[in-house]
Amino acid sequence: MALAQSFALGPILGRFAPGVSRRVWGLAAFVVVAIVAVLILPFFAPNDPFHSQFLHRLQPPGLDYPLGTDAMGRCVFSRLLYGARLTTLSALLVVALAAGFGSAVGCLTGMCGGFIDRVVMRFCEGVSVLPALAICMIISGVLGLGLQAVIIALAAVHWTDYARVMRNVVMVERGKTYVTAAEALGVPGHRIAMRHILPNIAAPLLTLGTYSLSWVILSFAGLSFLGLGVEPGTPEWGRMIAESRSHLREYPRLVLAPGLTIVGFVIAINMLGDVIGDRFRDTRASYFHPKD
């Protein structure tokens, strides 16, 4: 998500605010580094995360297994590292799909207004009124459990949030003076959208983006709790919690380790979102009210 947005927004901002672009690119670089870090994490795994050693099940943390082993005798730490890549990439994919499609629809309908706006918004509402987990359950029930089914289901449900929020923001921004002024000057609609409105909606979009990234990760976990979600044995964090729930009382670490990893990871994403949001806010403030 953050990746997609940084790349998408960087050049756009860069075109009319040259002083800003380096920062944005810096941020994008940071995000890229973070993602690469997540991608190579699995190479640090001390053990094969898929290899079950039933003789070594439920081992306490030690030198061989930094976080012990699970009920299937697999190294929990290695699974967490593999899960980082798997969980992050699939969540990013969901958010990228949802954000890309949703904000495009939202911006479009926000700019067009009128009949199209009404129809599209009705449709978005129609999709988003139904509990997402329930729709995912239906989709998983048909397609079977699996990463693909879950990604499709979550994206299919989630894009409407982007569409609705983007459309509302665009509407509000459109009502603001600077847009009215631009309109009065005869600037064509698409240019108003690209040059004036888009930069202003970056912050809400990124806030929503980071939030939805966490929502997706939590939804993976929720689906796993309901017995749906990715295939059993997949080192996805939510799945790991769900599979270890039967050992919650005796071996709380099996539930705590992926749980805390999720919490920590999601917190990190949200913090990153805040940082991004703050930077854009500064940017905009300086754009409208250049310091000195």
Partner: protein
């Protein structure tokens, strides 16, 4: 001025929300007072047992699950009951004899009344059985009844469509419970269970609880307790927690990993016993699966160490299954159990044209891959399936595991798009081999979705159900079960071990091996 208006509006909205939540909370208050009256208070007069159950206690449909609950909670009785060794013993019928190959006489118990005061007699029994058969095609299949005749008030004649020795056992099945006429309204719709059991139905709150009270007019030994509340707590962790927090007195279907902890805790009694029930891999023996080759079916059976399945998936709470019927049941003939034997399996696979290259069994360059299906609504299924698949993988057979809902899985199973589906059934439930062999493995059976056809097996099972208990029956079923071992349409995995726990002050509970009978009559606290 404008700002003030805005703040005012904001305030109004905030107040509206607050008032809204207040009323929402208030909504709960009346319930609170009601609950205070009905809530089980340990110190108060009626002696109540609160039971936390995994399944909802009383789904209002004329389906097996509902009758199961009426039977296991003993609101309704069956004509025949099963003792703690699964032998048929008198229930509402005192005795029965087979007057001709297809005709049975059941002598009914005297002085039995329904909860509404009406008498139980042959008319009532005929009404109840005919009703169940009309409503449940499954019951018709199970019982094979062609005609029910009332000889006199205490004698019921049942004629079967074919010679059928398993009838008394099948009449212990929960779906044959004796519904009193008052259970149904004028239109014939089910209202609430009115039976002859030691407990009478009081109240059912959907998705929450079912309450029963002692029936003082019961024909047998009267229960010690006054009242039982069956609370529906589907989540395993929550259910155990409710016991530990003292909110319920008894829970069943404990998580295997909780058994050790609760056993060690002085505050609780833990009950554990092998009962009816088998987790097994149902093999697709049809054309769409490589497993239509018997050598592969036997190889797969020999490659799975059941001890590891029990340890890995169930924390040791279960019995490794090397055969179909659990060995502790004497009425089931002995068979040659499967064995974990990698060499024998290798020989079978080699014989079938496979070759182990780089640790993977292959044929013509393609690895042997099995598509394994199961469902996740039963908590232990994913774990058992995963362990089974892992063990196969470690022996060089690739697997593709997919989990569905039960119904979702059946879609693929019915179309034959699978190699193994991991399921759970209770084949020993009625204490007679006929129940499961006929309904699941007979090539004509509606539930046979394994495309497994064995003419000799069909013939043996058809014969077996006509034979009275004795050497000939044992030999017939022994042969049929041996075919089930040798032709291997299934991979027996784990025999079920029932685990329940109660507070320390609950005494007198025994685990009934059918798995569908609480028998709280002797329980006290």
């Amino acid at each position: 001025m404008k700002t003030r208006n805005k703040i005012l509006t904001g305030l109004v909205l905030a107040v509206a929300v607050a008032v809204g939540s207040f009323f929402a909370v208030r909504n709960l208050m009346p319930a609170a007072t009601v609950d205070a009256e009905t809530a089980p208070v340990v110190a108060s007069e009626p002696k109540t047992l609160v039971v936390g159950t995994m399944w909802e206690a009383l789904p209002l449909s004329i389906q097996p699950r509902r009758s199961r609950f009426f039977n296991e909670s003993e609101i309704l009785d069956t004509l025949v009951k099963l003792d703690y060794d699964l032998n048929p013993v008198p229930g509402l019928a005192l005795s029965w004899d087979r007057v001709s190959p297809t005709v049975w006489h059941f002598n009914l118990r005297d002085g039995v009344t329904f909860h509404d005061g009406s008498a139980f007699d042959a008319d009532a029994a005929k009404y109840a059985l005919e009703r169940v058969i009309a409503l449940l095609p499954y019951a018709a299949d199970l019982l094979n009844i062609s005609k029910i005749t009332v000889i006199d008030a205490k004698t019921l004649e049942i004629e079967t469509t074919e010679p059928f020795a398993a009838l008394p056992n099948q009449l212990s099945d929960a779906i044959t419970v004796m519904y009193g006429k008052a259970s149904f309204d004028a239109d014939g719709q089910f209202v609430s269970p009115v039976g002859t059991g030691p407990w009478k139905f009081v109240e059912y709150i959907a998705q929450d609880r079912t309450i029963v009270e002692r029936f003082d007019g019961y024909w047998g030994d009267k229960p010690v307790l006054d009242r039982i509340e069956y609370r529906y707590i589907p989540d395993h962790n929550s259910r155990t927690l409710a016991l530990e927090a003292g909110e319920v007195d008894f829970v069943d279907n404990l998580l295997p990993s909780d058994v050790a902890r609760l056993s060690a805790d002085e505050k609780f009694n833990v009950y554990s016993k092998p009962i009816a029930g088998l987790y097994y891999g149902a093999i697709n023996a049809g054309d769409k699966s490589v497993l239509n080759d018997v050598r592969l079916r036997r190889a797969v059976n020999a490659l799975i160490d059941r001890n590891t399945v029990v340890a890995g998936a169930l924390d040791g709470i279960g019995e490794p299954a090397w055969q179909f019927f659990a060995p502790q049941f004497d009425w089931a003939p002995k068979v040659t159990p499967h064995a974990f034997d990698v060499e024998a399996a290798s020989a079978l696979l080699t014989d079938a044209g496979y070759e182990k290259i780089d640790g993977t069994w292959q044929k013509d360059g393609a690895p042997l891959t099995l598509r394994i299906l199961s469902y996740s609504s039963r908590t232990e299924m994913p774990a058992i399936t995963e362990v089974m698949a892992t063990l196969l993988k470690q022996q060089g057979i690739a697997t593709d595991v997919q989990m569905y809902t039960w119904e979702g899985m059946l879609d693929f199973v019915k179309r034959g798009e699978y190699d193994i589906s991991v399921v759970f059934w209770t084949p020993e439930m009625t204490g007679h081999p006929d129940l499961h062999l006929k309904s699941q493995f007979h090539s004509k059976a509606g539930l046979n979705q394994q495309f497994w056809v064995n003419a000799e097996f069909d013939q043996l099972v058809d014969t077996g159900r006509t034979l009275d208990a004795g050497a000939e029956r044992d030999a017939t079923y022994g042969r049929a079960l041996e075919i089930l071992q040798q032709d291997a349409p299934i991979i027996p995995l784990v025999h079920k071990v029932y685990v329940a726990a109660s507070a320390k002050d609950v005494a007198g509970f025994r685990v009934h091996p059918s798995g569908f009978f609480y028998d709280f009559k002797n329980v006290s606290r």
